[in-house]
Symmetry: C2
Subunit: 268 residues, 2 copies
């Protein structure tokens, strides 16, 4: 099975429910985790996550510590990725990741790892970069507006979903609606802080963590003026379908339907 975990940032380090689920899916005590720390500008990001993953009883955890493109793809890095059962991408600025890894041998290895079942997880910027089209930066808050978000290519493990993180906390509905309105074939997934959207086989999404995720489905959009609006004006979009999902809920891209945990089902 192929697995992505898009984490919403601000993970709770005292109740590490999300990282525990990541380690569990990566093999638990057999998990060999490789950390990509470069989106962060803090020197202790790699060592900090190593400590956390070892505390969660992963078998091993190592960080790929390099900060120049010509250092990407050294043999020990390649070897670590080939042995990894989980790859964790830290938060910060997602453009640092795309600039450093894009088109390198390491990027190829990341895709090979994903295809053979290595769990790929990232938080905040590390989650944004999972998708083919990622929101690189944008304005928060208001109604969707022309150019409220700017897109650049991410690592591209999926082209079915686009993720936005710190979702409620930073009021990013406007820019995620904008992303979906401009590309209705892609499902928008807004992930709250301390929460993860877990994507299996590019099809189903489940939720873990203390917050919620918001799935924006543009396939039923009746009308939008997104192509006509100029100069940052507000954008109209009619007929979005939205699902707000919490822990243990799941959603299928194929049926476009959500399942809530059994005790909550209205119909039972």
């Amino acid at each position: 099975m192929k697995t992505l975990m898009a984490m919403g940032g601000a993970l709770n380090s005292k109740k590490p429910e999300v990282l525990r689920e990541f380690v569990r899916r990566a093999g638990g005590r057999a998990a060999r985790i490789v950390i990509l720390p470069q989106a962060s500008s803090l020197a202790d990001t790699g060592p900090g996550y190593i400590t956390q993953f070892l505390a969660l009883e992963a078998q091993s955890a190592t960080a790929l510590e390099f900060y120049r493109r010509d250092e990407a793809g050294a043999q020990p890095q390649i070897q670590s990725l080939r042995e990894a059962t989980g790859v964790f991408i830290a938060g910060g600025n997602q453009m640092r990741l795309s600039i450093l890894y894009g088109g390198t041998a390491l990027e190829t290895e990341l895709h090979a790892a994903y295809q053979r079942g290595c769990v790929i997880g990232g938080t905040s910027a590390g989650a944004a970069i999972l998708s083919k089209t990622m929101i690189a930066y944008g304005k928060t808050g208001p109604t969707p507006r022309e150019r409220i978000a700017q897109f650049i290519p991410g690592f591209g493990f999926t082209d079915k979903f686009v993720f936005d993180m710190h979702f409620r906390q930073r009021d990013r509905l406007g820019r995620l609606i904008y992303a979906v309105a401009t590309c209705p074939a892609v499902l928008g997934v807004g992930v709250d802080e301390d929460t993860a959207a877990i994507v299996e086989d590019d099809t189903t999404i489940s939720v873990c963590g203390s917050g919620g995720i918001t799935i924006i489905d543009g396939s039923q959009i009746a009308n939008t003026d997104v192509a006509e609006v100029e100069k940052g004006g507000p954008v109209a979009v009619s007929g979005l379908t939205i699902h707000v999902l919490t822990k243990d809920c799941c959603y299928s891209r194929e049926t476009r339907a959500a399942l809530l945990p059994e005790k909550a089902l209205l119909s039972e």
Copy 2:
């Protein structure tokens, strides 16, 4: 025709597009406007709006200045309302309005005015109180959570819609989804600042102003656990339909469909 104008607060006083539309619908140069200033705690709220409405060439503007229940319903107040073509309810704390007007002769006169075609408009708290069930207060920002919003009865000009103001600016999606999830028969209408949702005959909504409105339709909700969640936990809701509408868009409660201005229609 019966008309409500729910305005999102923070009206632009230099480009008073929303108040100009209110005066226009109240009769333009024949408009006789009565202001309810009590939600505000500022002494110059009434005089301030009088100045604005006269500048917009209304025929007359007067404020009902009283701050005790036993002063509600004096004959000059009643007379003003009987002659009014527009009633404007200022912003502040909506509970001050319900406490002061609820059950008085003035409230009866307000309903009579609405029924005979007097335009009833309000901004911020003054818009919240238009509906039968109003969001009295609540937490901003996060995912819908158990008890994120508290409801009390408003003036009740409509029981088909519930309004929430400063919508994007204060990140109120969570609480409006909560309101709709608990009562799917009511359409949630989130109104941005300097923007108005104009409700005609309790059926159609159009938009004026610089921002947008967000209509949340819960009639297709597939499942929600809103009745089960405890202790402020996050609420799951699947299958909401959302329309983000801007100036000159309109929406019909009967067809549950939105119309965008012609030039923006995808289908044409």
